[in-house]
């Protein structure tokens, strides 16, 4: 079964109906008489992602922050469904010929919800904030890696000077982790700004009841919707109750019971159930950036041997596992990039399940003996692979998938040690290079994510301590490809370079692609006009209204 992999923006109720139908043939169409959006009401959103420790996505920079901050913060640019850059808080921009100077025109007449006007100086302050090590930014910091200087030329003009050309700059700037906040808000200090960042978005943070919910209220002066929004002026919804319900069963039950209107992180079994249930709709919006994949740590034995890497990949039957666990809600990936990335390159033949080939490869690599438990041994060392699993990040189905891979790998003679860890210990295990396999999806707009994930310098930690190249790929040829790709301005050349780079990653057996980063929303039938912003697929409730 193939389904459209990409949710799109709504341009009206009819489009909404069409969109919502994308998710499955059984989803009912919204009732016919609901063409006119209704003003007002409170929408309850239940998030299964971890509760952010800071509502300012500059700090750290993870997906939970992106989800909620999309409601109150806006970026300089956005994307349309086809991946084309749309103006947002920046109305226009141009690039110098050498690609080292970018000049942005800042949208006029926009004010932050604290009354501060949006101008070039405010944007400059934001860039400075992200680049300040004290902010502990990770995602945003990496995305601005080539921005050497930012300067407010006048009230409406911002000039960025780059250290090297950056073909991904606009994609980077579209991300919520580089959203623009009121400089007055930032000046309050990290604690205050984390509690209630001030943006230009359609909603504003009213209260944050930790461990429970965030209350967002409508910004009645809102004036800056992106071009693909379906209306102008303030949002329809009066309020959003943004709850944190980490338990997926409770979350789905709450949706069923009508306690909440929208849930994210819907699990495969509930998606299937919702498809067959009355009154629920589905919005499937895979995240951009990397696919969900297992990274094979080539930086240490036994995966420093490409034959062992290939053997592992051949030994496990991912297709059946994905089919059984995801019940048709997820499709197998064979690419380093998410299927929503236009430049994603797939090579399925590299990942065919072939236990015999796996055994031969291992024999060839010298892992010829087996011990009493059936695991391969070389020089008295067991062929053991440690797989730290972040219980906060890996959904249960994924954890079960690892178990199934573990069972399959055992037949080939691999001992896979699953090590469920809390987030902190998981980071710790990565930091100590104490892993052979790891699943760490990375969300970023555009193929430039490949540079973050596979360039040699990605083995060095960012200020927050995070490093992204978990496969520990250190290949000068690949580095060269990725750097060139990030600097060329010709789209075709860029596409070709990224395809080469992806092929190198795949053929080097550095990763085992599994499926897209699952990102499915379930909503009640009376929720209309919900869409995922095409940047990082976070939901935007600006066009949303309640048909009740």
């Amino acid at each position: 079964m193939t389904r459209p992999r990409r949710s799109s923006a709504l341009t009206g109720a009819a489009a909404a109906a069409a969109l919502l139908l994308l998710s499955g043939c059984s989803s009912p169409a919204p009732s016919g008489g609901s063409a006119e959006p209704v003003e007002g009401g409170t929408l309850t959103y239940a998030s299964g992602d971890a509760e952010p420790t800071c509502l300012d996505p500059h700090v750290g920079g993870n997906y939970p922050q992106a989800l909620v901050s999309t409601q109150y913060l806006e970026s300089l640019v956005s994307l349309d469904e086809d991946g084309k850059i749309l103006p947002w808080l920046a109305s226009d921009w141009e690039q110098s010929d050498d690609g080292l100077t970018w000049t942005f025109t800042i949208r006029d007449g926009v004010t932050f919800t604290d009354g501060t006007p949006l101008d070039a100086e405010a944007v400059r302050a934001n860039i400075a904030h992200v680049q300040d090590p004290a902010t502990l930014s990770s995602t945003g910091y990496l995305a601005l890696g080539k921005v050497a200087n930012a300067e407010a030329v006048d009230a409406r003009t911002l000039r960025l000077t780059l250290s090297a050309p950056d073909s991904a700059l606009l994609e980077s700037l579209s991300q919520p982790w580089l959203a623009i906040q009121s400089p007055e808000g930032i000046a309050r200090g990290m604690d205050a700004n984390c509690a209630a960042p001030i943006g230009t978005g359609p909603f504003a943070v009213e209260a944050w009841d930790r461990q429970s919910s965030i209350t967002l209220v409508r910004n009645d002066d809102y004036s800056s919707p992106p071009g693909d929004a379906s209306h102008e002026g303030p949002a329809y919804l009066e309020r959003i109750e943004w709850r944190f319900l980490p338990d997926s069963a409770s979350r789905y039950a709450a949706l069923q019971a009508g306690e909440v209107d929208v849930i994210d992180n819907a699990q495969p079994d509930t998606i299937v159930q919702a498809q067959n249930a009355d009154g629920l709709q589905e919005l499937d919006a895979p995240r951009p950036g990397s696919s969900n994949r297992l990274e094979l740590n080539s930086g240490k034995p036994p995966f420093d041997d490409v034959r062992v890497r290939e053997a592992f990949i051949r030994a496990v039957n991912v297709d059946d596992a994905v089919q059984g666990l995801f019940l048709g809600t997820a499709e197998r990936s064979y690419s380093p990039l998410s299927s929503v990335e236009p430049l994603a390159y797939s090579q399925p033949d590299l990942f065919e399940y072939d236990p015999e080939a796996a055994n031969e490869l291992l024999d060839a690599a010298g892992w010829t003996e087996r011990d009493s438990d059936g695991y391969r041994v070389k020089d008295g060392e067991r062929l053991t692979l440690r797989l730290p699993v972040s219980t906060n990040q890996s959904i249960p189905a994924e954890q079960s998938l690892f178990e199934q891979l573990q069972a399959g790998a055992k037949d080939a003679g691999f001992e896979v040690v699953l090590d469920p860890l809390d987030l902190s210990s998981w980071y710790g295990a990565l930091g100590e290079n104490d892993y052979n396999l790891v699943s760490a999806p990375y969300t970023k707009v555009g193929p430039d994510v490949l540079r973050i994930l596979y360039e040699s310098s990605g083995t060095t930690p960012a200020p927050s301590g995070y490093f992204a190249n978990h496969a520990q790929v250190r290949d000068p040829a690949l580095d060269d490809l990725l750097i060139r790709a990030s600097q060329v301005s010709d789209p075709d050349e860029r596409a070709a370079l990224y395809e080469d780079a992806q092929r190198m990653v795949l053929e080097g057996f550095y990763i085992l692609p599994l499926y897209d980063q699952q990102n499915t929303y379930l909503l009640r039938d009376d929720v209309q006009g919900l869409r995922a912003l095409p940047t990082v697929s976070a939901p935007t409730l600006y066009d949303t209204w309640l048909d009740r």
Partner: protein
């Protein structure tokens, strides 16, 4: 007061009342636990013991054999308890999980008992100063009620099945200690210990012949009562993701893995939970009966 002390107290009071009611018309067996309940408990325990010792006989299907395409099958003739998210047979997993789960409960209980014996005997034997100190320590430990001590322990030593077992054991130790201390003091002040002194028996001999046997003999019963609760607490920790982890066929881990699918596949959590409930109930009933037997015999 701990769960244990409540259990122990319950098992005790019935016997004492029955014994006190020696007078005419005191319906002798009127309030014994009903025979049917005890027989059922015995049957359950037999089944559990068989499952723990020879799981492959009780449930021949390999509990770890995955079959991805047969995932989430509801209970049927082929899979009496259904299949889990990886297509494994849940009945088989539950049966094969009996051994580890009981072992976990027993290990935690033994740890608790060991701690209890050390603290309790120290308090009861080593004089007033030690007794005072141990009593204060117990009061402090009791201020970490229930799971709190276990959770605190896990924070310090990290989650996992070993720490969870030790944590449950540690958190039950104060309860055991207080019971043992009380028992020890009762025995030490008992008329038969005095009688042995009057017969000219030395301290050491009185300790070995009378005090220790009479103090420690009830521990077996106490342990039986405690195992059920230990299993429940350990499973709770596993359920919260702090104990045993999948894919181990341990009940708590199965519960933890199955909780995600509760709204669509209830059998993943229901059956392991049912076995925990059965185990805890059966050991409680059996423990009570044992305690009554012991006390009725004197």
């Amino acid at each position: 007061m701990s769960d244990l002390e409540v259990s122990a107290r319950l098992a005790r009071s019935g016997v004492e009342r029955r014994r006190a009611r020696g007078g005419p018309g005191g319906g002798r067996a009127a309030r014994r636990l009903p025979g049917a309940g005890e027989s059922a408990a015995a049957l359950v325990l037999l089944f559990l013991i068989a499952s723990a010792l020879v799981p492959q006989v009780v449930a021949p299907v390999d509990p770890l054999a995955i079959s991805p395409l047969e995932a989430f099958r509801p209970p049927s003739a082929a899979h009496p308890f259904g299949t889990d998210e990886s297509g494994r047979d849940i009945f088989s997993r539950v049966v094969h999980g009996t051994g580890p789960s009981l072992l976990l409960g027993i290990a935690a209980t033994l740890i608790g008992l060991a701690g209890g014996v050390v603290l309790g005997t120290a308090a009861g034997m080593l004089g007033r100063v030690v007794d005072f100190g141990v009593n204060r320590l117990l009061e402090v430990l009791f201020a970490f009620p229930g799971l709190l001590l276990a959770l605190f322990f896990i924070v310090i030593f990290g989650p996992g099945i070993v720490t969870a077992t030790i944590a449950v054991g540690v958190s039950t130790a104060p309860g055991y200690a207080r019971i043992i201390r009380g028992q020890l003091l009762t025995v030490r002040r008992s008329a038969y210990v005095e009688a042995a002194t009057v017969l000219g028996r030395g301290r050491w001999r009185v300790l070995v012949r009378h005090i220790l046997p009479n103090t420690l003999a009830p521990l077996f019963v106490l342990g039986t009562l405690g195992v059920g609760q230990a299993i429940v607490w350990a499973a709770s920790l596993s359920y919260l993701g702090l104990g045993a982890v999948p894919p181990a066929a341990e009940w708590g881990a199965m519960l933890a893995a199955g909780r995600t699918y509760i709204s669509t596949a209830w059998w993943l959590t229901f059956f392991p939970g049912l076995f925990i409930v059965l185990t805890a109930t059966a050991t409680t009933v059996l423990g009570r009966r044992l305690q009554q037997r012991v006390r009725e015999q004197g």
